[in-house]
């Protein structure tokens, strides 16, 4: 038991000495790992969020019928009447030109010059429609029916938006994945080099250790632990950053009317925990790989 404690104390001490000696390199490695694994975490959360949002829409897909801006009152009422009486439609909401202008006003809050070119009269009033059954085919056929009605300018189905969002999120995930692979490789290489420097700095000690019969694993362990420690620190910083970003983005979705569409892009707390654990673990793995390669390569016994 005292032997084990002695060893643990030895490894802790040696690892700490290494970390302290290379403080600037340590910070660089930790930050690189942090950025890399933060992207992994964000990618994971984006995946969860898009799955959640798309799943939710399966149960509440809506579509919007835009009327001609100068539609006659009778035509608008006729469309509304038909919608209300339609057996496949659950509820509808009429957006007047004034309401449409208000929505646009919010969207173009930073671009007043664009808003100036639009008048209330030029905007199309619309019906927002929630069908009874959220089924893609049905929505498409409903949309096709109403596209032909007099006074209808166009019909936008939620399906198109869902597809567009799905595509957008997919590319976002791929970009994030690619970037995180590049950064994880860079972090592993940085840690690899750091451990090489650390081993060079301690070559006399390593020589003596080999001389008196220390095993390879005993000599390597403090260096591998050092790499894992950097990875862990980077993982924790990255996970924290990803958490802060998640809160910020979700807050933004919640506050802004323009981004209201994205409100369903949220992650549950258990998904957040999973993503956080995966992020931290990823850091540890990157650190362990980089340092284990270095310790294996540069310890010539």
């Amino acid at each position: 038991m005292t032997g084990l404690l002695g060893r643990a104390a030895y490894f802790a001490r040696e690892t700490w000495i290494n970390v302290r000696r290379n403080l600037t390199l340590t910070v660089a490695a930790i930050l690189t790992v942090a950025v890399g694994v933060m992207l992994v975490g964000l990618g994971l959360m984006a995946r969860y969020a898009s799955t959640n949002a798309l799943g939710r829409w399966q149960g509440g897909v809506q579509f919007e019928i835009f009327l001609e801006p100068n539609v006659e009152g009778g035509q608008a009422d006729a469309v509304g009447e038909e919608l209300r009486n339609h057996p496949d439609i659950e509820r509808i909401q009429f957006i007047t030109q004034e309401q449409a202008y208000k929505l646009l006003e919010e969207m173009l809050v930073d671009e007043p010059e664009l808003l100036a070119e639009v008048s209330v009269e030029s905007l199309p009033p619309s019906y927002r429609v929630v069908p009874r059954v959220a089924e893609g085919e049905l929505i498409e056929s409903l949309a096709a029916q109403f596209r032909e009605r007099p006074g209808v300018y166009s019909v936008e189905t939620g399906r198109q938006q869902v597809d567009a969002i799905r595509e957008w999120f997919n590319s976002f995930r791929w970009i994030v994945l690619l970037m995180s692979i590049v950064l994880a490789t860079a972090s592993a290489m940085l840690i690899f080099n750091m451990i090489r420097v650390a081993m060079f700095a301690r070559r006399r000690e390593i020589e003596v250790m080999k001389l008196v019969g220390a095993t390879n694993s005993f000599i390597r362990l403090p260096f591998i632990l050092e790499g894992m420690l950097h990875g862990l620190a980077g993982g924790v910083v990255g996970a924290l950053a990803a958490g802060v970003l998640r809160n910020h983005v979700e807050g933004l979705f919640g506050r802004s009317e323009i981004l209201a569409f994205f409100r369903s892009f949220t992650v549950t707390s258990s998904q957040f925990t999973t993503a956080t654990i995966a992020t931290v673990l990823m850091g540890v793995v990157v650190g362990a790989l980089g340092s284990a390669f270095a310790a294996g390569k540069f310890l010539d016994v």
Partner: protein, 225 residues
């Protein structure tokens, strides 16, 4: 304890450092390896600690055939061998006590063993009063005594010394020899490579002379030559 059977060591570029050497060293012997620089003394010591593989022949140390031993077993072999060098190889940032304790810590010896063995060995080499000194605060002779303490603290079967008195004045060299002799009397086999004629002639122990990697003389109670 040590047996070499027709051992040859050729380095890259066809340098024959050891050339067909056969040698038997019994437990408890004290052997001087003498010869000019480049005659193969240091190479022979490195073969014994498995730092270098042989090109041909067999090396047996402490009952192990080094040609057959797994690389992961090599550290365990080295625990039976203490090594002392001309340049001491002490760690400058560690105290005398820490330098010696380091040798036990890194082979996983428990703390209580370290706490009893280190003071005992420092007593043996006469450095109890300098436990907390750093190597650069010591004389050359004292540094070599620390190095011997480190090599012997684990009570190895064999002690290999490569020119241990090479950096020391004659009086200090005598001190070191007395220490090595004392260690030898505990039953430890000592093999010492040296250029120091005075010491070899004084000690009158077995002398193995090397020239161009070959044994040219092997005498009990021999002289430098």
């Amino acid at each position: 304890m040590i047996r070499l059977d027709n051992v040859t060591k050729i380095y890259k570029g066809d340098t024959r450092a050891i050339d067909g050497v056969s040698l038997n060293i019994d437990k408890g012997e004290f052997v001087f390896l003498v010869g000019e620089s480049g005659s193969g003394k240091s190479t022979m010591l490195r073969l014994l600690t498995a730092e270098e593989p042989v090109t041909d022949g067999e090396v047996h140390v402490a009952g192990k055939d080094l040609g057959q031993i797994n690389s992961w077993r090599v550290p365990y072999l080295r625990r039976n061998i203490g090594s002392v060098f001309q340049d001491f190889k002490l760690l400058p940032q560690k105290t005398v006590y820490e330098n010696v304790a380091f040798a036990l810590e890194v082979i996983g010896r428990p703390r209580n063993i370290v706490a009893t063995q280190v003071p005992a060995i420092l007593e043996l080499v006469g450095l109890s009063h300098k436990q907390q000194s750093f190597p650069d605060e010591l004389s050359g002779g004292e540094q070599q005594r620390v190095s011997i303490a480190r090599a012997f603290v684990n009570r190895p079967l064999i002690l290999l010394a490569d020119e241990p008195t090479g950096n020391l004045d004659p009086n200090t060299a005598q001190e070191i020899m007395r220490l090595l002799d004392r260690i030898n009397r505990t039953g430890t086999t000592v093999v010492m490579a040296t250029h120091d004629q005075t010491i070899v002639d004084q000690m009158r122990r077995r002398v193995v002379a090397l020239r161009s990697g070959q044994v040219v003389r092997d005498e009990q109670q021999g002289v430098y030559g």
